[in-house]
Amino acid sequence: MIEKELKIANENGFHLRPASNFVRIASKFISNITVTKDGISINGKSILGLMSLSCERGSKILISVEGEDEKKAFRELEQLVHDKFELK
């Protein structure tokens, strides 16, 4: 399992577009992906779940990835967060 705390750098946190992009990437992989904030854990492949996590800029989220393709999955997700949730 790979687990790491990441900082939200974009303006509005998990708005529809960032959440949508996150889910798009997360859904590519078979590993289980969990996003935790303030003790609440959400399935990272659930857009409905992510939307309910309101995160301001500068807040931290814990991303946990576990499964066969965890390394690749985590790398891509970390990149996404770093790119302020913009898909390149």
Partner: protein, 591 residues
Amino acid sequence: MKKSISLNGAAAVPGVAIGKAYLVDEDHLKIVRRYLKDYEIQEEIRIFKDALNETESDILEMKKHFIDLSYEKGEIFDAHLQMIKDESMIKKTIDKIKKDKENVDYIFYNHMIEIQNNLLKSKDEYLQERAQDIKDLKRRVIRKIQGEDHSPFANLEEKSVVIARNLTPFDSVTFDRTMALGFAVERGGITSHAVILARALNIPSVVGIDNLLQIIKPDDTIILNGFTGELIINPSKEVLESYRKLKMSLEDRKKELNKIVHLPAKTIDGREIELSANIELPHETDQLIKVGAKGVGLYRTEYLFLTEKKIPSEETQMKIYQKISKVVYPDFAIIRTIDLGGDKLFSDTYERERNPFLGWRAIRVCLEKTDIFKNQLRAILRASVLKNIRIMLPFIATMEELTDSKLLLEEVKEELRNNKIEFDENIQLGIMIEIPSAVLIAGHLAKEADFFSIGTNDLIQYTLAVDRINHKVSGLYQTYNPAVLRLIKDTIQAGHENNIWVGLCGEMAAVKHMVPILVGLGIDKLSVSPVFLPQVKEVIRAVKYEDMKNTSEECLKFKTAEEVENFITNKMCHILPRIFKEPINYGNINK
């Protein structure tokens, strides 16, 4: 044992209803709860998956059409597709179907409501707006599950008390009147559309209770008291029993009133008052015979415009007016030209008015948009072949409005003559008296109009300068106000001095304490919602005109509404104690 809750709203249509709740939410979704048998579970899951797939197809279809638009719009659809495919949501729903064994629309509905509410609670405005996306999605999927073209108000499976957010004119047309025992709606003050439409449905109704849909659950037992405006949810055995007894005594009262249905509305000393019905929807004419109405005293044509969602064609209008004419023949039908605000007719170009009640509405709109006005006049004339239709103009404030309207009517008549189309040449044209200025020049107006009909709802409003839907001042909206009585008397006098008849079609006519006063003031005609007709007749038949002349003179001497009310209540308790001495203590059922 479910907890019993008592709620208070405004009584809209009298009567008592006892039954199970049938919920229709603001998106017009039926909220029903069904328990599944074990063998039904797989089918239910399949229905759910099909609904999701169909919704997905719809979204893809929409996305195709929008592909030319901005990138952002396309993204929304992608996000919606992700929502539809959200594995957590799907798993949670299916697990719940298996565990609770309930229908999927109920489970899915509650799940989505939960998500909606969480988003609405967020401090982030953007997320609050996303609740709308969830709402849309919820609606789409549930409609797939329940069946697309289904009006939630039609085809009730069992007799129920219908609970809804609002009632639009369109809804009331599809309403299943045979199965609905009663009706409660969140929106609506006592003079709102919802009330008028509920009366048209003629089932006990209560309006204006906040958060009804959050509080009541499907299958809750409801007692609806249309006299007091009370709603009791899951009543105790004792309360249920008291209400059942009340219901029976009401049935007895109804039978009593039925005896006079076909008797004339005549005072003891022989003065006959023409008692007719106010209607909004054409189908209400069915009720006229049942309640012994002498024709239609007011047909509010604006509801036709509201149900059609666009301006109805001359042809459509003519057919409806014709039908009404035929049904009430040989009695008369008074058709009032549209009394609508500009906002309802021209929503695209309309600029919000600061004071719509003092603004561009009714006859003012018609005299400016003469094509619409003439269309309606033409439709009415073409339908007047049986010579039992009368035209009435709303909201007249000045002489010019009447004379200009008469000119337009003459133009339309000339057009029809030239085209050799038959119509009633002598059709009566009357006006509503609902603005104080009209009362003050009633003598002049009476020389140009064929009749007056006093619209007390607005007359009270404009005389006392009170907004009848404003809670803060609603106490000022006084039915018994001496100033208003004076205006009514002056109107009747001016009318009679010029040999025209004067009627009254506002809610005041249905107030049993006011009926004797109006009779005494010399009113020729009263028009009320069909549901109130029998009891108005009962009061008319119990009084002497000569006696009431004195009574109304006395009333005019008072300075306050309270004095008037006390006086007439006292008087009527002696004349008709059975009805006026707080007969059935509707509100005092043991809680």
